[in-house]
Structure formats: structure tokens, C-alpha cells
């Protein structure tokens, strides 16, 4: 009899530990409302399984959203490639003080070709900057200063061509 009594504290600790565990889980649920709001039952015995289910459904949703974003992103990039060289041309030629004479633009759905002259005492177009910019979307990019010549005092013209193909 005394032996049974002597192990009673350890038996009561079993109940106490369960009680403490419930308290801790309740506090956790308060700290994580995104979990609490997605629980279907408040039975703490199957909370583990519920969290596993929740996690797997959230991960499935996450991967679904990722692939949807990726698909739209690719579509937008493909559409952007159609006119990006023109955006670039307007960006570089409208942000400086030199004059420009556009002589030819050809785009056939795969390749683009831009031919123009820049007028000024110094060129304000950096071929490497333009090259790096265009190379983000196009392959076989060529940004070339074909000719540079004085034509009025120290005024020069710079003949450029830009070429490239859609990746």
C-alpha cells in the first residue's frame, strides 16, 4: 500500500505535464493566429496532424502561386522584348542634350536593327552601357559606333547601329 502511495506523485505529474502542455499549446496558438484561424477542431490531441495537413496545403498553394507568377512573368518578358530596344533608344536619346537623327528601324519578330546619328561635340552614348542593357533581353547584341566625323567646327556626328536577336 505504501509502495503505491509512493508512486502517486509521479502519476499526478503525468496529468500535470498534460495540463502544462495544453497551456503551452494555447499560448502558442495565441501567438500564431494564422495557425489558429486555420484549425478545424480545437482538440489538442490531433493538432499535430492538423498542422501537417495545413502545412502541406499551404505549400501546395505556395507552389501553385509561384508557378502562376512565373508564367505571367515569362509572358510579360516575352512581350517586353518586342519593343524593349525602342524603349532603350528613346531612354538614351531623350536624357541628354545631343541631337539625334533616326534613319532606320527594322524589327521582324526575331531580330531588331536600329540605325541613327548622334550630333554633338562628344558622344553621350556609352556603348558598353547600352550593350549590357540590351543583352538582358537579346542575344547576339551589337552596339557599334560605325563612324565619327567632324562636320561643323568641333561639331561631330556619330553613326551608330544597334542589332540583336530575341533570346
Amino acid at each position: 500500500m505504501l509502495l503505491v502511495i509512493s508512486i502517486l506523485p509521479s502519476i499526478s505529474l503525468l496529468s500535470l505535464s498534460y495540463f502544462i502542455m495544453e497551456q503551452k499549446i494555447s499560448k502558442l496558438l495565441i501567438r500564431y493566429p494564422e495557425v489558429f484561424n486555420n484549425l478545424t477542431t480545437t482538440d489538442l490531441r490531433d493538432i499535430d496532424a492538423q498542422i501537417d495537413n495545413l502545412l502541406s496545403s499551404l505549400k501546395a498553394k505556395e507552389s501553385q502561386l509561384k508557378s502562376a507568377s512565373e508564367e505571367i512573368k515569362n509572358y510579360i518578358i516575352e512581350a517586353y522584348k518586342n519593343t524593349y530596344f525602342l524603349h532603350s533608344f528613346l531612354k538614351y536619346t531623350s536624357t541628354n542634350t545631343n541631337s539625334y537623327f533616326l534613319t532606320n528601324v527594322i524589327y521582324d519578330g526575331q531580330r531588331f536593327y536600329v540605325d541613327f546619328y548622334e550630333y554633338g561635340t562628344e558622344t553621350q552614348i556609352s556603348t558598353s552601357v547600352v550593350y549590357n542593357d540590351l543583352a538582358r533581353f537579346y542575344k547576339d547584341v551589337l552596339v557599334s559606333l560605325l563612324e565619327q566625323r567632324n562636320f561643323l567646327g568641333d561639331m561631330k556626328y556619330f553613326h551608330y547601329i544597334w542589332e540583336g536577336r530575341i533570346r
Partner: protein, 132 residues
């Protein structure tokens, strides 16, 4: 029946009491701690995935808006005798309306000589064809 002295029995009982209490205390606290910390890790994972989902949803909405701005000209735009200003205006109009889907663009000046271009008026031919 084996008889043991009262003192011995008391010692055995006392030792059993201490050992079983300490043992169960250590076992249950360890088990509770492990279980709760594992659960918290899962909660943290749920939080992080939920936040990712919220970000992705916002991003997706923005991308949808951009996709809605993708357009294709219904027919072919073709015009001769355009002034440089008209060409510039048309280009800005086409490029600022959204993302144009096209498979053919031609802009050709009537002159290609660089020096005389300011003395003579330049006319452009512009063709933009939409594609699906």
C-alpha cells in the same frame, strides 16, 4: 513471505518516492519541452509560408495588372510622309500605352545622309503590325 525491517522498508519507500518523482519530472518535462518546441517550429513554418503566400498574391495581382496592359494593335499601322515629331509622338503613344505585341516594326527615314538632314525636311515611313 519475506520480512524486512521497518527501517529498511521506509528507506525503500523513500527512495522509490524520490526516484519515481524525479524520474517522471525529468521525463515529462523533457517530453513536453520537445513536443512543444517541435510544434512551435511547425507553427513558425506555417507563418513563413503564409507570409510568402501573401507576398506572392500581391505580386501576382501586380503582374496581372501588367499583363492586362499587354496589347496588340488590331491591324497594321502604316503611314508615309510622317514628320520626325509625328514619329516621336507615335512612338511614345505606342510605348506608353502598355506592352505592345508585335512582330513587325519598320521606321525608315527618307534620307540617310547625316550632314544634310537639318537643311532638308525628313519624312518617315512607319509600319507597325500587331501579332497574337
Amino acid at each position: 513471505m519475506i520480512l524486512i525491517p521497518r527501517k529498511g522498508a521506509m528507506i525503500i519507500l523513500f527512495v522509490t518516492l524520490i526516484v519515481s518523482t524525479l524520474g517522471s519530472l525529468l521525463y515529462f518535462s523533457g517530453k513536453t519541452y520537445t513536443y512543444v518546441s517541435k510544434l512551435e517550429q511547425k507553427f513558425m513554418e506555417v507563418r513563413s509560408v503564409s507570409r510568402n503566400i501573401a507576398q506572392l498574391e500581391t505580386q501576382l495581382k501586380q503582374l496581372e495588372n501588367v499583363r492586362a496592359s499587354v496589347y496588340s494593335v488590331q491591324s497594321t499601322f502604316a503611314k508615309d510622309e510622317m514628320t520626325p515629331e509625328q514619329v516621336k509622338e507615335k512612338l511614345y503613344e505606342v510605348l506608353s500605352s502598355g506592352l505592345l505585341i508585335t512582330d513587325y516594326i519598320v521606321i525608315k527615314a527618307s534620307l540617310s545622309e547625316p550632314i544634310v538632314f537639318k537643311k532638308l525636311s525628313v519624312k518617315y515611313t512607319m509600319i507597325i503590325r500587331g501579332s497574337e
